[in-house]
């Protein structure tokens, strides 16, 4: 059913810390590795070692530069994957019922057995979170690693999305954003987490934490730090000055 549930028991999602992300793309690679060999069709590549490589990814890291008048540019690495929106347009536009939002945890999924590969869900997503796999002809998207987070065959510390598990900087957090006392909700509260493109009205579950305020940089010349030398350096200064 492509009508959205009125509410979900949980709102599982990610919190991405733009202050901490170092832009290493490890989450991109681990996502690709896990999801190409588990749930659904593999994430295919075309011309992978040739001149014009392309392929399907569920998570991508952009890098943006913020420019302010008279200030140095600030660089922010920006990982982006499905935000598991509460008002997900990708679900309601689906004609076959392949796209759905789970009532128990709010995860937005594609049932590839029903997907006809029309691409309308990708068109309806403002975030570019869905990519059609051009080899399988079905829509691929972040599953929030549904085959890890409930998987009792792997150690407990691995039962988080692959991108979260692999992030070396600790920039990605996973939890229930519907529970105001969860670690992720407290983190969003403390750091002022925000939604992407709020004007689209999608009500994303995933939140982003803003970069912390940078130390104010100045373009004034560096001042001398040892203007009055003492001891040995005072003697050297005096000796050199006497020529």
């Amino acid at each position: 059913m492509t009508t959205l549930p009125n509410s979900t028991d949980k709102k599982l999602g990610l919190v991405i810390d733009l202050d901490t992300c170092v832009g290493c793309h490890a989450c991109v690679i681990s996502c690709k590795e896990w999801n190409t060999s588990n749930y659904g069709a593999p994430l295919s590549d075309a011309d992978a070692y040739g001149e014009d490589p392309s392929g399907t990814f569920l998570n991508r890291v952009h890098t943006f530069e913020v420019m302010r008048p008279g200030k140095p540019a600030e660089v922010t690495h920006f990982p982006k994957s499905c935000l598991h929106c509460e008002d997900a347009p990708c679900v309601t536009v689906c004609p076959t019922g392949a796209s759905y939002k789970r009532e128990e945890d709010g995860i937005v999924l594609v049932d590839e057995a029903d997907c006809m590969g029309c691409g309308l869900c990708a068109w309806s997503c403002p975030y570019g979170a869905r990519e059609m796999d051009l080899s399988a002809g079905v829509m691929k998207k972040c599953t929030l690693c549904i085959d890890r987070i409930y998987n009792e065959n792997i150690p407990e510390e691995d039962r988080v999305p692959s991108c979260v598990r692999t992030c070396p900087a600790g920039a990605r957090h996973f939890g229930d954003l519907g529970d105001p006392t969860s670690d992720v909700s407290l983190l969003v509260e403390a750091r002022g987490g925000f939604d992407l493109m709020p004007d689209q009205g999608t009500r994303p579950v995933n939140k982003y934490l803003p970069p912390r305020q940078k130390i104010e940089a100045s373009d004034a010349p560096v001042e001398a730090i040892a203007a009055d030398a003492k001891g040995f350096f005072a003697w050297v200064d005096k000796a050199l000055s006497s020529f």
Partner: protein
Amino acid sequence: MHPASSLIYFTVASGFGFGFLFFLGLGMPALTGANAFWSYFIGYFLAVSGLMSSVLHLGNKVNAVKAMSQWRSSWLSREGVFAILTLVTFAPVAITQIWDGPNFSLVGYLGSFLAIITIYCTAMIYGQLKTVPRWNQHITPFLFLAFGITGGAIIAQQDQIAAIGLPVLLILQIGHWVIGDRSWSSGLDTAESATGLGGSTGTVRLLERPHTGKNYLTTEMVHLVGRKHSDRLRGLVVLGLLLCVLGSIFIAPISLLVWLLPLVFAALISRWLFFAEAEHVVGLYYGRAK
């Protein structure tokens, strides 16, 4: 947006086909025998070949039959449902007209009503998308309806309706362009709102794409080909429609079909521009400026 030829043919041909069936269902003109057969054949051919063309666009065609199931929420599903309903409803009308002569039952009127709903649903597949500001305007469904009904009127040789429909179509077309041209820059979404960066004083620009090559998103939605010539192409659309307007006024009704060619020409270019000029907000993540 990528102007896929399968979708251009789908929207133009099925629009004309359902537009033509709309008039046949109303008994305009009243036909019988071979005339009725060939008219319904043309109507069905345009509608069905358009729908088949849309299937060509699918990545996983075997699941196309499931597209009828989600009519509660999906305009694409509604389009499929109403297209099939229209074609099924017209079948007994066509058969009785071919064999028994003009017979304009309520079923014909119902078919005409369903044909209009089908064209509306086709337009709403695009018109519903908030992510594509140029499409997400009130004129979009009326533009599709005007192309379908006017095209249908010309094929059905309804000269008076065509004479009214063509100027209306021209005005809607120009209105759609004017509003569409403003929609991108006046939209609320910006690179700043897309990334949440910049605060009140900063501007955001893309420093590095996430990948060096192309991907599905960039080829499908961050499509830039052809906009260079959009002014000239718009001129050709206007020229085609103006020729039709003049033709509908000055040429005898029997020759109305002559003006189908410039209309088809205008419709195909207009629909190509409809896709090629449309920008998707995901472009904001790929360095598209406002």
